[in-house]
Symmetry: C2
Subunit: 342 residues, 2 copies
C-alpha cells in the first residue's frame, strides 16, 4: 500500500512528499460533471454507490496519495432536526435556522450509524474498491462551522447572527456546541469504524472569529473532538481558512496535522505551530489557473519551505475550484512527487 | 487641538488612547441615512458640502479623536477612463473592466487636482469646520485593491481574473500597478496639500494573496507609496484584512501605522511587526452588536494587550457595520478614553 500520506501525518520519513487536494472529486472533472447531470447534489451524497464512484474518480485519474470520501458537511445536521436543501446555484439552505435557546434545546442527538448510514456505507464501498491502493480520509464539519450554518441558515458575510447568539445566549451557545461536538465525535468514530484511515475536521468559518472569542466559544470543543479521536490512533487533521492569526492558539489542539491556508508562508506557519505538528498545504488554489512555469515556481517554493522535513503533506490552501484546468492538476501531482524525491 | 491621534501615529505619549472607527460616517447613523435619502452615493461623494457635512456627523455625535474624509476609493479611477456606477444594493460596478494589456496601456494618468477636485475641496471645507478640534485623515485605495476592482469589475470571491492577469500578463500587470501607484501618490499628496493631516491606504483585498505573490506583485508598489509619503512628514497608515500571515513582510514597509484586523491578538501582531510601528485596531466590528458587558470585556482585552505602550490607536478591525447600535458606539468611545487614562 502507498502509505506516504499516513506516514507523513505521523511525521515519519517518506520516499517523497504525499499530495492530495481538498475537493479533489469535484466539478473541475468531466467525469464528475457527467454524474452530476444525472443526480441532485444531496442525492449523490446519499447514494453510497454514487458517492463511492465519485470518490474514486480522481484516484483513477491522478497519482494522488489519498482518497477522501465524497460527502458534505451538512447532511449530518438533518438527524438533529435541521431541514436542509441545496438550491440550484445558491448552495445549502437551512429552512428552520436556530434562533432561540428553545430551538437548541429541541435539537435531537442523532446516532450517525442510522442518520449518516449512506456515508458509512460509501466508506465501506470505497475501501473495498481501493483495495489498499491509497488510504481513505473521512471528514466532518467542525462544531463552530456547523453551528454557524445552523444559525445563519446559509452563507454569511459577517456571521452577525452567529456572533450575536454567542454573545447574548452563552448558555444556549455552549449547549449547541456540546451537542454538535458529540455529533462530530460520534460521526467520525463511525467513519473510522467503517474504514476511514484518517479524518479531517473542516472549520471553514472559524476564521471569522477574533482569538478572544475563538478561545471561549470554539477551542474547548475542537479540543474535545481532537482528544477523543486521538484514542482511535487514526490521524486527525484540523483545517480552516483565515486562521493565521490564531496559530498560537491552534498549537494547543491535540491533532496530528494542521491544514494551513495559502495566506502565509508554510514555514512561518510551521514555526508558529512547532515541531509537534505535521502540516498540510498550502498552494493558492487559484494558482492552478496559471501557466505551468508560474505554477511550478510556487509549488517549488512550498517544497523548499517544507525543506524535506518529515510531516509535510502537499495540498491546496483551500478547495480546488470549478473550471480548474485538469492538465495542471495532473502536472502538479507528478511534479510534487518528482521534485521531492530523496 | 486634540492631537492624541497624531501623537500616537508617531509613537509619542498621549494622555489616553485615541480612538476613531473605520467607516465612522456611515449608514448606522440616523443623520447619515437622512442625507442618503436625498442623494445617490456617488453624488454625496462628489458634492463637497455634502461630503463635508457627512464627515462631521460622527465628530459632532461622539468624542472621536480623528475625522476621516467622506469619500470612496473608486472615483479616482474614473479619471483613468474607468466607467463606474453604484447600483442599488449591489455596490460598485465597473462597466469596462480591464481584460487585456491594451486596456491597461489605454488608461490615462489623471491629475487628481482636476479629477478628484471634489474630495480635495471637501477636505478644505472640513478643515475649516473642524477648526483644529481633531485632525483629519485622508485616504486612498491601495494599488492592488484598485487593480483588482478594475479587473474584476466589482466584488469577487476568489479574485481569479486578477490573479490570472498577474500570472499571464506580468508586464501589463506591472504597468497597471505603476500607473495606479502614481495615481495613489498624486492623489494622497493632493489630499495632504488640501489639508489632510494623516493618510490611510486601504488594501482591502490584498489578503486574497499568497505571500509569494504579494512579494512580487504588490509589495514594491505599496513600498513606493510609503516612501514617497514619508517625505511629507504626514503619518501614513496601511490597512488590509486577512493579512495576518503577511505580517513578517509588512514590517518592510515604511509606514508609521499598521492597521490590524480582528483575527489576531493585537500584541501578537505588534510583536511580529516590531517596535518601529504604531498599530491601529482591532476590535471585531460585530462585537458592537453584543450586550455592553461583552463589548467592554473585549475592548479591555485590547487595551491590556496594547499595555499602555506608545503608538496604539484604538479602532475596529474592519469598517463599522450598518445597523450597529449607536449607543454602543458612544459607550465604546467613552470607555476607551476612560479606561486608558494614565
Amino acid at each position: 500500500m502507498n502509505d506516504r500520506f499516513l506516514r507523513a501525518c505521523r511525521r515519519q520519513p517518506t520516499d517523497c512528499t504525499p499530495i492530495w487536494l481538498m475537493r479533489q472529486a469535484g466539478r473541475y472533472m468531466p467525469e464528475y460533471r457527467a454524474v452530476r447531470e444525472r443526480y441532485g447534489f444531496l442525492e449523490m451524497v446519499k447514494r453510497p454507490e454514487v458517492a463511492a464512484a465519485i470518490t474514486m474518480q480522481p484516484i483513477n485519474a491522478f497519482a494522488l496519495d489519498a482518497a477522501i470520501i465524497f460527502a458534505d458537511i451538512l447532511p449530518p445536521l438533518e438527524g438533529m432536526g435541521i431541514d436542509l436543501t441545496f438550491e440550484q446555484g445558491e448552495g445549502p439552505v437551512i429552512h428552520n435556522p436556530l434562533r432561540t435557546p428553545a430551538d437548541v434545546a429541541a435539537l435531537r442527538q442523532p446516532d450517525p450509524h442510522e442518520t449518516a448510514a449512506f456515508t458509512l456505507e460509501a466508506i465501506r464501498l470505497v475501501r473495498r474498491e481501493l483495495a489498499g491502493r491509497v488510504p481513505l480520509i473521512g471528514f466532518s464539519g467542525a462544531p463552530f462551522t456547523l453551528a454557524s450554518y445552523a444559525i445563519e441558515g446559509g452563507g454569511s458575510r459577517d456571521y452577525r447572527r452567529t456572533k450575536q447568539f454567542m454573545y447574548s445566549q452563552p448558555e444556549a451557545w455552549h449547549l449547541l456546541m456540546q451537542k454538535l461536538t458529540t455529533l462530530v465525535i460520534d460521526y467520525l468514530l463511525a467513519q473510522v469504524e467503517a474504514g476511514a484511515q484518517a479524518v479531517q475536521v473542516f472549520d471553514s468559518w472559524a476564521g471569522a472569529l477574533a482569538p478572544f472569542d475563538y478561545t471561549i466559544y470554539v477551542l474547548p470543543y475542537v479540543q474535545q473532538c481532537a482528544t477523543r479521536l486521538r484514542e482511535t490512533g487514526v490521524p486527525t487533521i484540523y483545517f480552516g481558512t483565515d486562521m493565521n492569526g490564531l496559530l498560537p492558539l491552534l498549537r494547543q489542539i491535540d491533532v496530528d496535522v494542521l491544514g494551513v491556508d495559502w495566506r502565509i508562508y508554510l514555514d512561518d506557519a510551521w514555526a508558529q505551530l512547532g515541531p509537534g505538528f505535521a502540516v498540510q498545504g498550502n498552494l493558492d488554489p487559484t494558482t492552478l489557473f496559471a501557466p505551468w512555469p508560474e505554477l511550478e515556481q510556487r509549488a517549488t517554493d512550498i517544497l523548499n519551505r517544507a525543506g524535506g522535513r518529515e510531516g509535510h503533506i502537499f495540498n491546496l490552501g483551500h478547495g480546488i475550484q470549478t473550471e480548474t484546468p485538469v492538465e495542471n492538476v495532473r502536472r502538479l501531482i507528478e511534479y510534487v512527487h518528482e521534485a521531492s524525491q530523496i
